[in-house]
Amino acid sequence: MKSAVVTFPGSNRDHDMIVALTRVGGTPPAIVWHKDTEVPAVDLIVIPGGFSYGDYLRAGAIAARSPVMDIVRERAARGVKVLGVCNGFQVLTEAGLLPGVLMRNASLRFVCREVRLEVVNADTAFTRGYAPGQVIRAPVAHHDGNYFADSETLAAIEGNGQVAFRYAEGTNPNGSIHDIAGVLNQDKNVLGLMPHPENLIESAHGGTDGLPLFSGLLQQVA
């Protein structure tokens, strides 16, 4: 199993993601800098959390236009798995790899707390470690996680099983439409989600509910 983590200036949960991938996959991921013109042949490309370019424009907008994203787009088209967490999710929507947008939280405040997630579609490479309908714990930490898509797009992604995770039990922390926390592309090989499964994978974190995402994924692509 081979993975790569793409970093931009301002990425700051790259460390957490590298630790998670190394811990679960056994080997450290390749680190790809945003200016790199090549990405090693990997089965999984991860765009980690953070504040790429300070998020001074729309969150993820500048990173989405960096050259390395052309390679990510091309790999995704060839079926390589792409995972974007938090700022990574924002980058993937800005890059057009995922439908919808992430707006400022409805509270207008940064929110860092534990939420509950329902696994809506457990039949994907990313979610196969969970049972359908399973409710898991997950940390969130973001300022721009308010998912929105127009009604046509919403109907399409709901109908096509592209909603991977939904905030459950009234814990929607940001006003996301349909409580959407994680979205897949049409082919289900690209996932973006606002919560941080990488921060809940060992007992020291106070739980391991994030672990099945990585273990399911890494087994799949091994």
Partner: protein, 743 residues
């Protein structure tokens, strides 16, 4: 030598620079001529209270600053303490009070940025942050706006930079109405043999500027921070800097990469008085002169004068002395991170601080004297007189359950969730205890068992009533909070916030508080390794409550053996360690008296340091031996509040006895010091009482048991946990949402 003076130096100009006539005379004596305008600015920057500690230095010297673990005490960007395995923790706390009142978001944000820079300047990667925030009365017209802005600013900077905020304090008191306090703490990890210092070495070496460009923001900021506020406060907005956490994050990565190349000889961040302080510091410490060529300084505004460049407090900037043969490697690092850099000067052997601009020499000053000859005052001070004790029968009565519900939902004691949920507390993946407990705890990355604990403490109303006992108490409470999670308290940083030291009663507060801090630190083997002094926290002649904030750091050898404050299970015994015979006695300066009866009288609870140490050492041992299942220290609000917090944190209730024949009010709400609540499994209780207790020399009565869904205090009516939690959680969001009329 003569330097032309384009701007005449008048007494008014001298006064505008915060320099007293005798201080100006000292400048004239020192340089033997009238200073240039730029030189006057440089002197005012170096000699103001903020940079020179001229009022406090005499007393700061009395603090214990050494110990077997201390690698670097006060005097550098941050303190450095050995944590074994070749690693060190690097930390400091610093105020950003005045800017935060004027522009709360940017003031708080740049406070966080400044303290993070202090830590990574020394070669440490920041791993934890805290913030001690003090605001005015919730009913004051500015308070809500200030809370919203400061909290957003703290979060906005720290979250983007990528450091977990693991603890802090939020307090309200009308005495901060016109002068809030924002004390930012940061800690980082470094290899003990790879610490970087500001002392320059070598003659003729390049002085390199790295980071953001220089603008006019913050010009005169350090001088502002050394003045009282008057009614012209809003005119000071231009002296507040603007933060850019994105640049700071790049600066962090660039500095750490650069340090790894071996290119860095000396490094100093540009904080207060930017280019001036950093250059003088590097030269003076290394017994070298510094020559700066301002035409080389990256600027972001046109037609900046040398005066403005020397006093700018633009953020996210570093100055360093580099090995000339490694400049190419250094350049590659800067370019990778797309940071501005420039060689702006060189070290010299003439011990002069020379500043060149457009072919002119605009400053030429003796570098050592700029720092060393700063005025130092032994200011007159009045011995504070503590209030008389309360009469023994002076115990205002209230139903215990009613009192608890009111207090647990009050601005002073309610949940700070609204605040800390705006801070990223998970990032880096090492947070073991996040805000809400006794101390924040993070794992030491890469080590299988080691962890660090952090806390920030002071009780300003105690300090106001008796600065000496209040100073002791601040240290003792920090030490106790670290102990309560099972850590060895290893060192502390102090952030001393006071009013105008030129008033003897304020100076008396400072002197006595420092003496109290020193006494407690010595007794508890808890050296002060870094710190900051913020004086002139006054508005229109009225000072803040004396607030010597203590940031404490503890080391946990094995984090699988730490304690948390929530009850661990039902049916466990609750013991009150360190209790006096009547469990609780002291109501002077208590939250009970202040918030339920509007009384601020009586002396604060005294701190018996020998008792404190004995009890704490015992509790820590019980945590590490696995006997203590949950631990919480007693502080504001006393026994009742501590029990309620343990219950709320766990969702497990408790039933606690009440001593017959005693008044339940001091028992449940007294704020006697040196006490902890400890729970134990019933099956270990016998072992504890038979094997450990007889020789412990600590009174630890078994006061009740955990269990159920209510908290029952003695004869008071049981309070359902749901009601307790609802009261605890309600105030902050409702207040910030504008739902509470009259606030």
């Amino acid at each position: 030598m003569s330097i032309p003076n384009d701007i005449p130096i008048t007494p008014e100009l001298v006064a505008d620079h915060g320099l007293k006539p005798d201080e100006y005379q000292k400048i004239l004596d020192l340089i033997g001529r009238e200073p240039t305008f730029t030189e006057l600015g440089i002197f005012s920057a170096m000699w103001n209270e903020h940079c020179s500690y001229k009022s406090s230095k005499k007393w700061l010297r009395t603090l214990p600053t050494t110990g077997p673990r201390v690698i670097q005490g006060p005097g550098e960007n941050a303190g450095v303490v050995d944590i074994g395995d070749g690693q060190a923790v690097v930390f400091k706390m610093e105020s950003h009070n005045h800017p935060s009142y004027i522009e709360p978001y940017q003031g708080a944000a740049t406070g966080v940025g400044g303290i993070l820079r202090d830590v990574f300047t020394m070669g440490a990667r920041p791993v934890a942050a805290m913030n001690a925030l003090r605001f005015g009365d919730p009913g004051h017209e500015k308070t809500r706006h200030l809370v919203a802005g400061v909290v957003a600013g703290v979060g906005g900077y720290g979250n983007s930079f990528g450091v977990p905020t693991v603890g802090g304090e939020v307090e309200f008191d009308e005495r901060y109405n016109g002068n809030i306090l924002v004390n930012a703490f940061a800690a980082g990890l470094a290899d003990a043999d790879k610490i970087f210092y500001s002392k320059a070495r070598g003659i003729g070496l390049p002085v390199v500027y790295l980071g953001a460009r220089t603008g006019r923001d913050g010009v005169g900021g350090a001088t502002m921070a050394s003045a009282e506020f008057g009614d012209d406060i809003d005119e000071k907005r231009p002296t507040v800097q603007v933060g850019d956490p994105f640049t700071e994050k790049r600066l962090l990565e660039a500095c750490l990469e650069l340090m790894a190349t071996g290119a860095v000889i000396a490094i100093q961040d540009m904080g207060a008085a930017g280019l001036t302080c950093s250059a003088v510091e590097m030269g003076a410490k290394g017994d070298l002169g510094i020559e700066l060529d301002l035409d080389k300084v990256p600027v972001r505004e046109e037609r900046m004068t040398p005066y403005e460049m020397m006093l700018s407090e633009s953020q996210e900037r570093m100055l360093m002395v580099l090995h000339p043969d490694k400049e190419a490697a250094a350049r590659a690092v800067f370019e990778k991170w797309e940071l501005d850099f420039a060689t702006v000067g060189r070290t010299t052997d003439d011990l002069r601080f020379r500043v060149l601009w457009q072919g002119d020499e605009v400053a030429n000053l003796p570098i050592k004297e700029l720092g060393d000859e700063a005025p130092e005052y032994d200011r007159p001070w009045d011995m504070p007189v503590p209030p008389p004790p309360l009469a023994p029968d002076d115990i205002p009565q209230m139903d215990v359950a009613d009192a608890l519900l009111r207090m647990i939902g009050s601005p002073a004691l309610c949940s700070r969730r609204w605040v800390y949920e705006q801070y990223d507390t998970w990032i880096q993946g090492n947070s073991l205890q996040r805000p809400g407990g006794d101390a924040g705890v993070i794992r030491v990355d890469g080590h299988p068992t080691k962890a660090l604990a952090f806390t920030s403490d002071v009780t300003p109303r105690y300090c106001e009533a008796d600065p000496f006992e209040g100073g002791k108490q601040a240290v003792a409470e920090a030490w106790r909070n670290l102990t309560a999670v099972g850590a060895d308290p290893i060192a502390a940083t102090d952030n001393l916030n006071f009013g105008n030291p030129e008033r003897p009663e304020i100076m008396g507060q400072l002197v006595q508080a420092v003496k109290g801090i020193g006494e407690a630190c010595r007794a508890l083997d808890f050296p002060i390794v870094s710190g900051n002094v913020s004086l002139y926290n006054e508005t229109n002649g009225r000072g803040i409550l004396p607030t010597p904030t203590i940031g404490g750091v503890g080391l946990i050898p094995d984090w699988t053996r730490m304690a948390r404050s929530g009850f661990a299970a039902e049916g466990e015994a609750i013991l009150l360690f360190g209790a006096p015979d009547w469990w609780g006695t002291h109501l002077g300066q208590s939250i009970y008296l202040r918030d339920l009866f509007g009384r601020r009288d009586g002396p604060p609870p005294p701190v018996d340091l020998a008792h404190e140490k004995k009890v704490g050492d015992l509790v820590r041992t019980l945590i590490r031996d696995g006997i203590a299942t949950a631990v919480h220290d007693l502080s504001d609000g006393g026994l009742a509040i501590a029990l309620a917090e343990m219950a709320i944190a766990s969702g497990i209730g408790a039933t606690v006895n009440q001593l017959e024949g005693g008044d339940p009010i001091p028992l449940f709400f007294g704020e006697d010091q040196g006490r902890y609540l400890v729970t134990m499994k019933r099956e270990t209780l016998d072992r504890f009482f038979e094997d450990i207790y007889p020789s412990a020399g600590v009174f630890a009565p078994w006061i009740g048991n955990t269990g159920g869904t209510a908290l029952t205090l003695g004869e008071a009516r049981p309070i359902p946990l749901a009601e307790l939690r609802a009261a605890h959680e309600a105030w902050f969001p409702r207040y910030m949402g504008g739902e509470l009329e009259g606030h």
